[in-house]
Symmetry: C2
Subunit: 388 residues, 2 copies
């Protein structure tokens, strides 16, 4: 049931092949100093860096560079970014990259003027932001996280073996995001399909809860069907604009707070996947694909009607003459075939996890309420073993 909630998503999206043309007009709203945040340098090879810098220069901006954001941004990198932002009195943080770059930029935006340790305050204690926030804009080069239109930010602390996400409020959402599907074309296939599964996982984490009748579930079924269809096309032809543009749009709506309305969620696939990531530094989407089927088969008995609905409405499983459980399991089998067709990683061993690491990964797994089964540490261990 849709309960009481507030919905507000002020992020302005520029979508399409000409989306970057709007950056200059947006930049006029902000002061002179722009912190340009990016990752390992792929944007220099594909020309996006030059195009963005040219627009910044034409707008008379002073550019402060903060490159080298890693796939799982670390707390050490966060401290460095805060120092750069504060020392240069940055007026706007411009994130050019994928989810990690956007997540990191939001973390810096709330942390730069934080009194005390921002890791402790925002990622361990989940406190509300009570300091000045530096506005963030995004130019997206990889889809999956939905970070371009939400308040989410995930930071990894390797020494503590923790990878923790904080979902900040609308004052931390990017002010604008530039979404040109073509900017995602040059991404290697491994990262591309990992992103596809990240999107799938975002939707499923929100879909698999509740026994009520909620419009959010119907919207999610639509998003899932579109994603499944477009991913099948994109994996064959990564430069199919129609498929890639649909996927970019689905990624945004999968995690911009809309479909969460009225849903309880425990995000346990992400909790387990993030723990795997903290121990292996594997690609985020692949940590999710490697544990998802074991997780869903584990909780299926506790949410059987929804798993049956998923099979019928999303995977077109015919329910006639079958038990509910048979229908539900057929849905997960269809999902597994689709995942293998995409070339996703299907076990955590391939990501570097070993039998000996499982106890440690289980220790790093946060356990939430809200799904069909409140997991125990033993459940997590069993899921990890089945994922090995």
């Amino acid at each position: 049931m849709l309960g009481n909630f507030t919905y507000c998503n002020p992020t302005k999206l520029y979508f399409g092949q000409n989306a970057l043309d709007n950056l200059g007009e947006e930049l006029k709203r902000y002061g002179q100093t722009v912190m340009l945040v990016y990752g390992g340098g792929s944007i220099k090879r594909n020309g996006i860096y030059d195009r963005v810098v040219s627009i910044l220069r034409n707008c008379g901006k002073r550019i402060v560079e903060d490159p080298g954001v890693m796939p799982n941004p670390t707390v050490e990198k966060l401290y460095e970014g805060c120092r750069i932002a504060k020392e240069n009195r940055v007026d706007l943080i411009l994130a050019v990259g994928g989810g990690s770059v956007c997540d990191y930029s939001k973390a810096v935006s709330v942390s730069a003027y934080c009194e005390g340790d921002p890791w402790e305050k925002y990622f361990v204690r989940f406190e509300d932001v009570d300091n000045a926030i530096i506005p963030v804009g995004c130019v997206l080069t990889m889809v999956g996280t939905g970070s371009e239109m939400n308040g989410g930010s995930v930071i990894t602390n390797h020494s503590q073996k923790l990878k923790i996400g904080h979902v900040f409020g609308e004052n931390v959402f990017p002010k604008f995001s530039v979404l040109n599907p073509e900017f995602t074309f040059t991404l290697p296939k491994y990262q591309m399909v990992a992103g596809f599964f990240d999107i799938m996982s975002h939707i499923l984490e929100q879909y698999f809860s509740g026994t009520d009748d909620n419009t959010s579930d119907y919207i999610m079924e639509g998003l899932l069907r579109s994603l499944i269809h477009s991913a099948e096309i994109a994996v064959q032809n990564p430069t199919d604009y129609e498929a890639r543009s649909n996927i970019m749009w689905i990624a945004t709506w999968a995690l911009n707070t809309l479909v969460a309305k009225g849903k309880a969620t425990d995000w346990e696939v992400h909790m387990i996947g993030q723990a795997v990531g903290a121990h292996t530094d594997a690609t985020h989407g692949m940590t999710l694909s490697a544990v998802s089927l074991a997780y869903y088969r584990h909780i299926l008995p506790y949410g059987l009607p929804k798993f049956r609905r998923y099979a019928v409405n999303v995977w077109n499983v015919s329910p006639e003459g079958k038990t509910d459980e048979a229908v539900a399991r057929e849905g997960l089998e269809a999902m597994e075939r689709w995942m293998r067709m995409l070339g996703l990683v299907m076990n955590i061993r391939e990501l570097g996890a070993t039998e000996e690491m499982l106890e440690g990964i289980a220790d790093s797994t946060l356990i939430n309420q809200g799904g069909y089964k409140a997991l125990t540490r033993q459940d997590v261990l069993e899921i990890l073993r089945e994922s090995l």
Copy 2:
């Protein structure tokens, strides 16, 4: 295909049984004088008026009343509202009512400081707004139009037999809207189901265009399935909170610009229905229900694959062993059964239209491009005859 577009929807929504509790906090953002706009007085009978006035008084606001907004707000009423708003230097227009009250409030908000005739400028010539805009907030008591989260405003000019809508930009969108499903419980059944069909029609107007693969269509199929299901429950039990809350939420997302992305639309059911409304003053949703099936059966041959998809994905028509046209027609038959079950008006004669009026209604019908068939005046006449 998703082309180039900008998406920005800044309206803040307060949803649920406690939604009105947020009004006081919102009011603090605006100046002292609030223009309270409402309709025929039903809000006085059901207590919502007293609750809103009490909150306004507690916030120390000066209240300027503008009651009596009619179901199809007239240009004369608009002129009166502009005079009241301007003379009182209104800081906020608070619309308490359904789509007509919200539409009218937005029309006043852009027209009060318009130089020249706002009807001519904004509803005949569709010019951009270049004058000061008075902010609008809404407390919704009837669902259907989606006016609570968009820039749409429809005004009727009886002397010119014209009912015209202008979709204004995001600066005209309501700043906030209070959506309490319980506020819609006391609406008479005739208005309730008319609103349900208005929602259905908004989605279908956007769904029936294009031959591409577009995520918007998948989202709309989800919204339609949820609407069909919840409407069946609500018509039996109008105080079923779950069904009414889902419908309220669907109404908002059916017409807040999201599902329009990448879609060409001609809105011809609305164009014909609005012409019927201008000649009969009938309830908006009923003018749409009375002409929809004739219209869709008329254009079905031009968009056959989409009508087939509609039948299968929305109405669960089994396609096996049938021609595409048979499947498509079965979908419209299922829709017709659902419409009759709701008790919708199925012909325009029941709304007061006569054979003699059809030429005049056709003359008042605006013809747009973007659907599966660009209508001729002859097409419109045929659809009207089939709707009689």
